[in-house]
């Protein structure tokens, strides 16, 4: 069915259709409409799950972990400070191997206080052991929630489905909402292990007494996250076969003959597509690499996409103070031991939801094409 939905509502719709059974949540801008929409569904009797109004995001994640351990499919959503408050429970979720799926709407972290999009909130959770999927548009956000349950429940690792504040969360786009029957075929009801088994009691969140006992837990989670790459690819292929849409861990656009490949994530990718077209029309060989999966990091796909590419420009809507844009760092480290050796130019743009227009992107490309060597530090794009 064709429908007009905002990114927040698209996520809420996917959660309903995924039949999440327990949804604890707490309001925070710009995520609140996900919570409101799910409440509305609950009041209309169309939400198969139960919502819980909790006292903080920390409590929301604690409830998700516990309910997931008890064997039910769970969901929550948050942004910015709410995600930062959850931080210690994020480690608990991955450490306890619970397949929680969470909607994250990127918003700047204080201070100063503001509301616009900035990926630093989710990227700051890079090392918590969660999978992270950055979505370009509302359709992709819907599709990724459905996929994320399959992926998380197959790997027993939690997932963040991530959209940009306002550009995605509040902008309404036409999209396809599949039949419930087809979603049910793709994503059957959860059959999670009930880890609080009365007949076989177990100690959850146990204590280990030495590094020798601790290390295998992390090693196992690491190995399973590596294996998740194949599962992500397979689930996406299956989704494409069933629904006609797939995204891959990365997407490449006209990279084969490119002299310059632009690297983006999230909503600015749509703008970058237009900019690339305009530059191609001017006869410039420019391509695009969209990174969707950030954890696990798609090193193989990135390496393949950037073989024999002389220059790469990364636009980051985030910043790691003391280094550079976070996608830029990750890209560099992924390529260091590979045979792909492009020069990598880092740009910081769009913080706090500043517009990253087609003109800005074209200008970045033109600047990089005309520049012999990259700067040591990222270039800050202040906007039009």
């Amino acid at each position: 069915m064709r429908d007009l939905l905002s990114g927040n509502y698209a996520i809420a719709e996917a959660v309903r259709m995924a039949k999440a059974q327990l949804i604890p949540a707490y309001p925070i801008t710009p995520q609140t409409p996900i919570y409101e929409r799910l409440s509305e569904m609950e009041s209309q009797g169309t939400l198969p799950g139960v919502m819980v109004r909790v006292e903080s995001e920390h409590s929301a994640m604690a409830m998700c972990i516990a309910a997931s351990l008890a064997g039910v499919r769970v969901f929550t959503a948050t942004s910015s400070q709410g995600l930062a408050l959850m931080h210690e429970m994020l480690h608990f979720a991955s450490g306890n191997r619970v397949p929680v799926v969470m909607g994250c709407v990127n918003r700047v972290l204080a201070v100063p206080w503001s509301f616009g999009s900035d990926q630093t909130d989710t990227l700051s959770q890079r090392d918590t052991g969660w999978m992270q999927f950055y979505c370009e548009d509302n359709q992709e956000a819907f599709d990724t929630v459905i996929q994320a349950y399959r992926i998380s429940e197959a790997t027993m690792l939690p997932s963040m489905v991530i959209i940009d504040a306002f550009f995605n969360s509040h902008f309404i786009e036409p999209m396809d909402v599949p039949d419930q029957r087809l979603i049910d075929l793709f994503l059957p009801q959860a059959t999670l292990p009930e880890r609080f088994d009365l007949n076989d009691p177990a100690f959850i969140s146990n204590v280990v007494t030495s590094g020798a006992q601790f290390l295998p837990f992390r090693e196992r989670a690491f190995t399973d996250m590596e294996k998740a790459k194949e599962i992500i690819r397979e689930v996406d292929i299956e989704y494409r076969a069933q629904f006609g849409r797939g995204y891959g861990m990365v997407e490449t656009v006209q990279t084969k003959d490119a002299q310059l490949v632009l690297v983006t994530s999230g909503s600015m990718t749509s703008t970058a597509r237009m900019a690339i077209e305009a530059l191609r029309d001017k006869g410039l060989k420019v391509g695009l690499l969209k990174i969707k999966a950030f954890r696990p990091f798609p090193s193989r796909e990135v390496e393949d996409a950037l073989q024999n590419i002389p220059k790469v420009a990364v636009i980051d809507r985030n910043i790691s103070i003391g280094k550079e844009g976070i996608f830029c760092q990750e890209l560099k480290s992924a390529l260091y031991n590979s045979t792909a050796r492009p020069r990598i130019y880092g740009y910081i743009a769009g913080l706090d939801g500043l517009d990253v227009s087609p003109e800005i992107i074209e200008n970045i490309c033109l600047e990089v094409l005309g520049k012999e060597m990259p700067d040591n530090l990222p270039i800050w794009v202040k906007g039009n």
């Binding site: 801008t29 609950e42 109004r53 206080w113």
Partner: protein, 283 residues
Amino acid sequence: MAHLDDFEGLTPAWCPGCGNFAIKKAFKEAMVELGLEPHQITIVSGIGQSGKFPHYVRCNTFNGLHGRTLPVATGLRLANHGMPVLAFAGDGDCYGEGGNHLIHAMRRNISVKLFVHDNQIYGLTKGQASPTTAEGTVMKIQPFGVQSEPLNPLALAVALDCSFVARGFAGDGDHLKGLIKEAMDHRGFSLLDILQPCVTFNKVNTYDWYKTRCYHIEPDYNPENRVQAFEKALEFGDRIPIGILYRNHRHTYEDGIPMIKETPLVKQPFDLSAMKGILEEFY
């Protein structure tokens, strides 16, 4: 001598008719009548419509995180207990995510003055139930009504022997101003819960709703009787008492730290040479 305008900050973005305007007015009047200058006080807030309070007044201000007003205020007070520290929080803020901090600030009896804008709703995120919303109230994300008992902040405070417990009403400005002054003059932690109608999202607890229920606590009431105060704190329904419910004379947290008895920490010289003798003795 400061004037009311000296405390005026940016133009508020609160809705016309919001109870916060009356709190701001009472605050400014109280400060002027207490003879305080803007540079002499510090205001800390959290998140919510109350969190914007420091934006709209002029003095030393800090806008902190949701629910975390009191730890910041405590740190400020310990660094400089010569400076009055005022915390402005909301019911969603201080009685929800910040509930744990409230409990421990009351236990410590740090001399922070806490003013809670209690509108029984989350205003900033546009109309969800807060910890003080009445059970059964239907709201945007509570389509079946609030399923928890409301928190009674004053009963909680009396139970914890909080050293100053009062309730004001934004619709009774002069009375509120008097309570702010009393809270400021009290030695120790002061909790002033201020009933503050949210005219946009709370259609239940309106000015009329409060006006028909609020009454001034009787002049012969003894606020030093804790059991009686607990009974008073439980009154919240057809009649709502406003005024000072409870007061005691516990020693303050600052009193218990000998190092800052004479001089605030910030005014003390930082001189490592005093440690030298001790280090030499052991090394």
